[in-house]
């Protein structure tokens, strides 16, 4: 039976849990004035042109026309409020919240030494300096898989770190630091066990010294194709090099480790109006449990938090984090302006169809996945965090760009929350897909790993789903469970963020 869900006592709209027809009657005397789709907003009282529309206790926008109690409020009804200023934002104002001790405090991972996060998978990564070599590396990976991998049962997979960067790019442009540090850090992801195997061409702009320290540049770690006489010869040398790395990786075993060895990413994509009240807050609860247990959790997506930036600033633990937040968000404002667009470029048509009227509404739902923990650090796209705890990694919101950026920042597992459904996956780390509605889970039963839809029907609470997600994260991190994307081998491109020009 369809219900209306109101999140905050101050809200003047609520959302429908099912499609509902004109005339449907709800408690408190609400009667729908027209057919309204699932997850869309219904006015809880008569509203006039210019009135604030309030959800999550926050102004989503101002009405462009009068709407009566029981009327439909969608993207056509709202004018965006002013964007929050980045100047002098308040910080250190985190609201106290209560969270129990996590039900589990250890997981089984691949240790990488005292100063590093542990791996959740044991993968051989072959890093390319430039797209030119990716055809060869793809053939290499396929040969390694058939000829070598069966001999090294403790190595779970071989992954080509192919990307579009490396040459034909403005390597000295100010913004080139982003793709360069991203690639440098991706190859050091904890899931790759510290083994470095770099394949270059020999005439690219992204020279190996931009990726490796001088002591790392040697024949064991780096192979340049132009140094080898022909295809057969380079393939032979590559297989030999890979075998040495496989031998080292094969000696690795899972051990019991504290949660402080975990680094997890949170991302959402294909969101709907339920994401912000079911899956995202549950992920936030799981995040709070992880953080309390000592883990590091990252959330991202600049354009999706832009309109709630003042709320993030309040949660920053110190001035340094607040200043970095203002810097990164400001950088992104400029980046969009250079391309003659602004935040209204987000949300997607799918978001709107799913009931998200504008970027303010999307932001409130997006931020929910960060739970209530204080933000200990803010990092730029592809940067490494220095602190443990909740981190805001200022990456694009694009799913396929956020993923590689978080991998560069060290995540070894990603939680991906979706309302409308996407088969997204990463080769470099397991991706747990969480959906916001029961019908999504029923529809994509063999793709969605966890369903938060019970919150809509009232069968489960946010905390209960959050604990289930926390447990699933540890199951997957410990290698006891493989996600659907892993089972089918669904892997997206490593779309490394390059805001600098192509030449």
């Amino acid at each position: 039976m369809t219900r209306l869900i109101q999140i905050n006592a101050n809200d003047n709209v609520a959302i429908l849990t099912e499609d509902a027809s004109k005339g449907t009657v709800f408690p408190d005397g609400i009667v729908l004035l027209e057919d309204i789709p699932q997850a869309h907003k219904v006015a809880l009282k008569d509203l006039r042109k210019g009135d604030s529309v309030i959800r999550y206790g926050v102004v989503l926008g101002y009405l462009l026309h009068d709407i009566k109690k029981g009327g439909w409020i969608n993207e056509k009804s709202l004018e965006l409020p002013l964007q929050p200023s980045l100047e002098d934002m308040e910080y250190g104002q985190s609201v106290p919240f209560s969270i129990p001790d996590p039900p589990l405090k250890v997981f089984e991972g691949y240790d990488n030494g005292p100063d590093s996060y542990a791996g959740t998978r044991n993968l051989l990564a072959i890093t390319t300096t430039v797209q030119c070599v990716s055809g060869v590396v793809d053939q290499l990976v396929s040969q390694i898989r058939s000829k070598l991998l069966p001999k090294y049962p403790n190595v779970e997979e071989v992954v080509a770190i192919n990307h579009a960067y490396g040459c034909g790019v403005a390597i000295n442009a100010p913004d080139a630091v982003i793709p360069i540090r991203s690639i440098r850090n991706i190859m050091r992801n904890p899931n790759f066990g510290g083994e470095i195997m770099v394949v270059g061409l020999g005439c690219e702009k992204l020279t190996v010294d931009k990726l490796l320290s001088p002591e790392e540049i040697n024949a064991e770690n780096v192979l340049m194709l132009q140094d080898y006489p022909g295809y057969a010869s380079m393939m032979e040398a590559l297989l030999k090099m890979a075998e040495t790395k496989l031998q080292a990786l094969n000696r690795r075993k899972r051990t019991t480790l504290p949660l402080s060895k975990l680094c997890i990413g949170m991302q959402c994509g294909g969101s709907d109006s339920f994401s912000g009240i079911t899956a995202n807050p549950s992920a936030g609860y799981a995040s709070d449990l992880l953080v309390r247990g000592g883990a590091t959790v990252m959330f991202s997506e600049v354009t999706e938090v832009r309109d709630g930036v003042h709320l993030l600033a309040q949660r920053c633990v110190d001035k340094e984090a607040r200043n970095k937040l203002a810097y990164e968000i400001g950088w992104y404002d400029d980046y969009l302006a250079k391309g003659a667009v602004d935040r209204s470029a987000n949300p997607t048509p799918g978001n709107k169809k799913g009931g998200l009227s504008n970027i303010v509404e999307k932001a409130m739902g997006s931020i929910a996945k960060s739970g209530h923990s204080p933000i200990v650090e803010v990092i730029g796209p592809g940067e490494l965090p220095r602190k443990h705890g909740l981190v805001f990694a200022a990456t694009p919101a694009s799913d396929i760009v956020c993923g590689p950026s978080q991998l560069a920042s060290g995540i070894t597992l990603q939680v991906f929350i979706t309302g409308r459904g996407t088969p997204y996956g990463l080769a470099e780390a397991p991706v747990i897909k969480v959906c916001s509605r029961n019908d999504m889970k029923e529809h994509w039963d063999d793709l969605i790993d966890l369903n938060a839809g019970g919150i809509v029907t009232g069968e489960e609470s946010v905390d209960e789903v959050g604990i289930r997600l926390f447990n699933l994260i540890l199951e997957v991190a410990s290698g006891r469970k493989r996600t659907f994307a892993e089972q089918y081998g669904l892997k997206n491109f490593l779309c490394v963020f390059n805001p600098a020009p192509i030449t």
Copy 2:
């Protein structure tokens, strides 16, 4: 034996055909003053700080210090000349040149009807609207390859048109027209025989109506993953759809066609100083033969022709082409300026090592591959040409971005010229790799399809190599020969050019 090659009678530098030591004596009394590497420039007379350094009869730059006759001139010795202005460039001044009739006037291709170019390959292309679906499409392609393709022997391959575009992008940004038209045109490449198979998600920004006309949008051509209940179900539907397309493609046969049905792309990458005097002018000769035979030949790479733009303008047949040239080059100037870089971002370290001191020198060599034919049309990146003949397609110089742009503009085969060697290949069209030096061919004998190095040693003329290349193009286009990249399955990403922001 090492020789000095001077291209134009007005040149005050010549290049070495081999590494040569200090003291090496050449005719005309040139004695090397230091060890100078192969392909690098030697001063033919005493030059003073500020003097013009002239090669190809063109000023490469101005000396930053005195250099004596026999001295080495490299990237450290030269200041860039002013960039040619785009205002009021002369046009219609093409210099007359003589070219024989092409030795062959037909090839065996896949006809696509009276108004289209013919295919050189018969491929099933599966186009994605968004990167989100690429994991599923990769699995689909692998299943088609093993289960279906053997039943349809006339279909040569199945190709996933995966790209990084489609969502998480500023779809209404002014520059978004470039990636959108590129994808729309790539899926219509003549090598795909007019069969349209589009796989979308359902909530992406790049909606199918941006790629297809209303009458093309139907269940035979378009499948949206969100419409299917789960992975097994979508995979079943996708395989069924693919089979229908394979049945249609399997009915296609090669027929004898005139050269006017051919659309060829020219590109160079990993260039050295020899590229501009051996492989590129030979490719230019082959291009002139093709154009004379009625074919369309494209050349590209804006940053590499920027410093010779006035020479291209002179060859434009009309004001329209000249104006479009000025517009596209001007657009690129602005694009680079927005990223705080300029043309000096090109060349690459490899180019410099190969003796190309700066972008002016690289430009002269790059332009050589367009031969001497008049330029009938100038198009933007990913646009379709309307005329037959020599076309300048204003794409980035990046090999991996130029390739997809030319594919969008309709090329069915690419000639790729390299000095230093790259294993580059495309899944969508055969790529013939031509090298500039004998030692490159010896070094990469099983990767380079044609060697123009005999021009360095005097064993062959530019025209002779050009005729060999022309014949090889027709052999490959007719399916009688497969390139090395095709034999090994070397395929680069479809790096679609997206100058607009990621959101």
